[in-house]
Structures are given as C-alpha cells and as structure tokens.
C-alpha cells in the first residue's frame, strides 16, 4: 500500500466519522432543546442546555386530571388495539401461508388489492357512521385494524417455517388451531413482537382518527390533547389559568411533548432488538 493512498484513506475515514457525528448532533439537538425548554424555570430565557433546572412544568401537568385521563385512554386504546390487530392478522396470515389451501392465491389477491387501491377517507367514514361506531372506541380499534403490509410480512414468515414440524403434528391428529397455537406461534416470537410493536406505535401515535371519529373530548387520547396544548386550542380544559401557573407556557408545552414521548422511548430498545432488516424488508413480496 502506498503512503499517499494510506493518507487518503485516513482522511476519508475522518470525513466519514465527522459526517456521522454531524448527523447524530442534527438528530439529537432538537430533542435536547425540547427537554431543556421543559426544564427551564419561570422567567429565565431558554438555551440549548438549561442554566437552572425546575420540574414545575411536569408537576403542573401531572396535576391536570384531563391529561391523566388522556394518558389512560391512550394506554387502553393501545393495548386493546394491539390485541385486536394481532388476532385478526395472525388468523388471516396463517391460513394464507398454507400452500395447499384451495383459494389461497385468490384470497391473497383480494387482500392485496386493498393495498393498491383505496377510495379515500369519505367512503370509510360513511361505513363507520353506518355501523353506528362514531364516537365509540370501536371506530379507532377497527378502522385500520389490519395492515396489509404487516399481514404479508407475517404470512411470508409463516411460509418460511420448516414444513416438517407442522406435518408431524398433523399426523398426530392436531387440529389447525392447535398447530398454530402450539407450534407455529412459539416459533414466531420475534415477528409477533415486532409486528405487535408496530401496531402499538401506530395506535399510540394516532391523532387524526380520534379527531375524525370521536366527538367527546373526554374520550380523546394523549396525542390529541398534546396537539390542543401545543396550539393553545381548548387548553383551558387541560391546564388551569395562567395565574396559578408556576412554569412558563413554553415549558408546559415542551413538558407535554416529553411526557408523550417517554413511553415510546421505553419500548424503543425492544423494537431495536427485534428489528432486523431481514424480517421487514422484502416482506411485500410473494
């Protein structure tokens, strides 16, 4: 190796690492600043890192019954949403993954078509209305309960499991449901966890559908309340009058952002651990 080349390679290496650090800072700076604003005491100007720290904004927020109720609503919606979505997805993906099931291709096509073509928002809204699901949690739990993408990823995963195990169980007289429950699902833990987390994240983050389908303010989940706090809309409902406030308005807003983000950060390491590029890329094919 020539010396010039080695020097060039070293310069290249430094450039690459400097670039990665720059990207890291660009991603983290906004998040750090949000936390900093949420901790800045009343009457002080904000900066990237706080000069003094006060948890008043968090105390103030956690004292608001409306916010606690919204948190409860979100937890309930996320848990029941994941349960419904997983049951529907597994029970659809497994039969369609059996190569000898008559009509498998046709049914997969019927499902795939809904992935490629949609008539938009209004026709679905009319369905929810005609089923009398408006202003019920069923609307939020059901309108997008199955993601075709997740369904196809799971179907592909089931298809790639070794056939012999299931055949052996079948010969022993196990029913389809028994094979699914006792053999296929235990082998599919990583994919079940990944897809379950994807459903959970979608439900936890959803803010448009609650606004669309619900009218009762008491039923709204956390992101809707967060948006109202951020825009100052109906915020009197969530935060008591400014006279009693011990934290700056911006601090309250950013504390609400942080509180909504924390549960996401708690599950993120698990998403991370089970997320492998192989499980999800190429899932649409086949």
């Amino acid at each position: 190796m020539t010396r010039v080349r080695r020097q060039n390679d070293r310069a290249f290496d430094r450039t690459v690492n400097a670039f990665l650090i720059a990207v890291l800072l660009a991603t983290l700076t906004p998040l750090v600043y949000v936390v900093s604003v949420s901790l800045t005491p009343l009457g002080q100007t904000t900066s990237l890192l706080p000069r003094a720290v006060s948890f008043n904004a968090y105390e103030e927020l956690l004292r608001q019954p409306a916010l606690i109720r919204a948190l409860g609503n979100s937890v309930f919606l996320t848990l029941s949403g994941v349960l419904i979505s997983m049951i529907l997805t597994v029970c659809t993906a497994y039969p369609l993954s059996r190569p000898d099931l008559p009509g498998r291709k046709f049914l997969t096509g019927v499902i795939l078509f809904t992935f490629l073509f949609s008539a938009g928002l209004i026709p679905l809204y009319l369905v929810i209305r005609d089923l009398h699901l408006l202003n019920t949690y069923w609307a939020l739990l059901l309108h997008g309960a199955v993601s075709v993408y997740n369904l196809l990823v799971m179907k592909n995963f089931f298809q790639n499991l070794p056939e012999s195990l299931e055949e052996a169980a079948k010969i022993d007289g196990a029913s389809d449901l028994q094979v699914l429950w006792h053999i296929v699902l235990p082998l599919s833990k990583p994919i079940l966890l990944t897809i379950g987390l994807f459903y959970a994240v979608t439900q936890w983050n959803s803010f448009f559908e609650p606004v669309l389908y619900l009218s009762d303010a008491r039923m709204m989940p956390l992101p809707v309340v967060l948006r109202d706090i951020l825009t100052g809309l109906n915020s009197a409902e969530y935060i008591e009058s400014a006279a009693t406030t011990t934290a700056p308005p911006d601090g309250l807003k950013m504390a609400a952002v942080v509180l909504t983000t924390i549960p996401m950060l708690l599950v993120y390491p698990w998403i991370q651990r089970y997320f492998t590029s192989g499980t999800l890329s190429g899932g649409v094919k086949g």
């Binding site: 906004p30 008559p102 209004i122 809204y125 309108h143 983050n205 911006d250 807003k253």
Partner: protein
C-alpha cells in the same frame, strides 16, 4: 348428469368437484380461522369501495348511498375546472417530488457512511438514534418544530437573530412552510429509509471489496464501483415505490403542521378532501377527488411495478 349418477365412483376416483369439496372440508378449520379477517376486509375495505359510488351521485345522508340520485361525472368536472385544482395538484406534486429528490440522497449517503465507518460503535449509535424519530408521532414532531422554529424562543430563530438576521415565522410563512415540511420529513425519516440501503450494502460480498483493495482501489473508488452499483437495484425499487405514492404528500404531517396562512402552498389533495368532505359535508365531491387520487395511485403503482420487473429484475408486489 345421468352418467355421473349411474356410475357412482369409488372413493379413490371421485369427480373433480367432489375432490374439491373434500379438500375444502378437510381445511374447514383454516377457513374458519380466516373468517374474522375476511369479514374485516369486507366491512372496512370493500364496503368503502361500494360507497365510492357516491362520487357519481348527489349524496344525501337521509337517502343513503343507494338511493341518492345519479349525477354522472358532475363532481369530477366541477373539480377539474375549479380554481383549486391546479393549486392542489401543484402543492401535492411539489411537496412529494421534493421529499423524494431532496430526501433520498441523504438516506443513501447515511447508509454509505454507516457502512464505511471504521468506528463500529459510532456507526451503531448513529443508526439507532437516526431511526428513532420515525417512531414519533407527527404531533410530537410538531412540538419539536415549535421549540426550534417559533419566532420568539425558537432555537433556529435565536441563531438567526444572533447572526444579525430577522426572525422568521417558519410555520405560518408561505415562503418557508414547504421547506419546513420537507426538512422535518428528512429529520424524521432519513434514518429509517437508510435501513433498506444498508441491508443492500451488507448483502454485497466482502470478496469484492478485498479484490478491489488488492487492485489498489481507494475508498472512494470502492464506493463508486462496488457499493453504489450494489445498491442500485434497491435505489430503483425505492424510487419507484415512492413514485407509486406520488400523490400522498404526507397527510398526517401536513394536517398537523398547516394553518390558514399557508393553505396556498400547503393544501394537498388529502387535506382538501378532509376539509370538503368532513367539515363542509361535501361528501360526493370529496369522494370524487379521493377516487381520482386512488385511481392515479393504482395506475402509478402498476406502471412502477412493470418498470421494476424490467429494470431491477423484481416487482414491487
């Protein structure tokens, strides 16, 4: 018919129909399992397609979907000839294409940098941190943008003022709003998009790099002649997939970020459909526009799939 009845076949040689019935019966457990899912698709995906007929009707809630009077293509004509048609299409396409053209290169570069870095720890941390924002709700990103961009206390505006400039109300300034949409999308999604490219890079055989090193190739040359060609298929596939969704400019994002002062540059097909349909009760007109968007989307994705099969050797679906 008589023939079939006369010679009732032995169990082993049944007619094709009987064999099919026997196969269906044997799989009855699986069909039973499919039932809830298929019912869901019927109710929440195919019933809406049936309801889409109101695009050709003058939908009256009292009369319902079926009994509202037909009006042919009236709503489509009203949409195509209205002044907002060109504005909606322009906004949708400009935002979509900008996200694709400005957003894709950073993802490719990030994947290359993560792949090339000699510091594996740094590379891993960068990867983990950059795809975290993908999992944040757009409402949370809205809060982050307020912190960064608000004219009074926003970090970016503080920087602008410190540099001697004037503060900009990015979120309500029509001249700045699209940039906010595009760059917040880049901040949120670049790490996530990089994953696919990184997977392609990991799939490249190490022997190619070793051979290049023996031949005296520099790191740049290795990227140009091995890494980039190795990612090309994935780049083509991702681009085509994005083109298939070119009329989805990012509804959730724009819905939460936009406001009246920036409608002229921010209003896209989906946000307009929502306002006309749900807020102004123009169900038929909004459905017609939604249907138009759905049909263009279907057309684009079918074409993209054809192109992908030809150039990348594999289809999108």
């Amino acid at each position: 018919m008589t023939n079939v009845i006369r010679s009732a076949p032995p169990a082993a040689r049944r007619s094709p129909r009987q064999r099919l019935l026997a196969r269906l019966w044997r799989h009855r457990g699986l069909y039973l399992m499919l039932l809830p899912g298929l019912l869901w698709f019927a109710l929440f995906r195919y019933w809406p397609l049936w309801n889409a007929q109101i695009a050709f009707k003058d939908f009256q809630p009292v009369q319902g979907v079926l009994h509202s009077p037909w009006v042919g293509l009236e709503h489509f004509q009203a949409f195509f000839s209205s002044f907002y048609f060109s504005q909606l299409m322009t906004n949708t396409l400009v935002i979509s294409f900008a996200k694709l053209l400005i957003g894709l290169p950073p993802a490719i570069i990030l994947a290359l940098a993560i792949h090339e870095s000699s510091r594996r720890g740094l590379a891993r941390v960068t990867q983990t941190v950059t795809y975290l924002p993908h999992f944040l709700s757009w409402v949370i990103v809205f809060g982050i943008l307020l912190a960064m961009l608000s004219p009074g206390s926003g970090l970016l505006n503080k920087g602008l003022v410190a540099a001697g400039g004037d503060p900009v109300s990015f979120l309500t300034d029509p001249g700045a709003f699209r940039a906010v949409v595009i760059f917040s999308d880049i901040w949120k999604e670049t790490g996530w998009s990089a994953i696919l490219f990184l997977a392609a890079l990991i799939g490249i055989s190490p022997s190619l790099y070793e051979a290049a090193e023996v031949d005296g190739a520099t790191r740049w040359q290795r990227i140009r002649h091995i890494s980039l060609p190795g990612m090309l298929d994935v780049i083509v596939l991702v681009t085509l997939l994005r083109l298939g969704h070119i009329l989805d400019a990012g509804f959730y994002q724009i819905y939460v970020l936009y406001s009246l002062p920036v409608y002229s540059v921010a209003d896209v097909i989906d946000t307009w459909v929502y306002r006309q349909g749900i807020q102004n009760f123009q169900f038929s007109l909004a459905t017609a526009v939604g249907l138009f968007k759905g049909l263009i989307g279907l057309l684009m994705i079918v074409i993209a799939n054809r192109v992908a099969r030809r150039f990348a050797g594999q289809g999108l679906y």
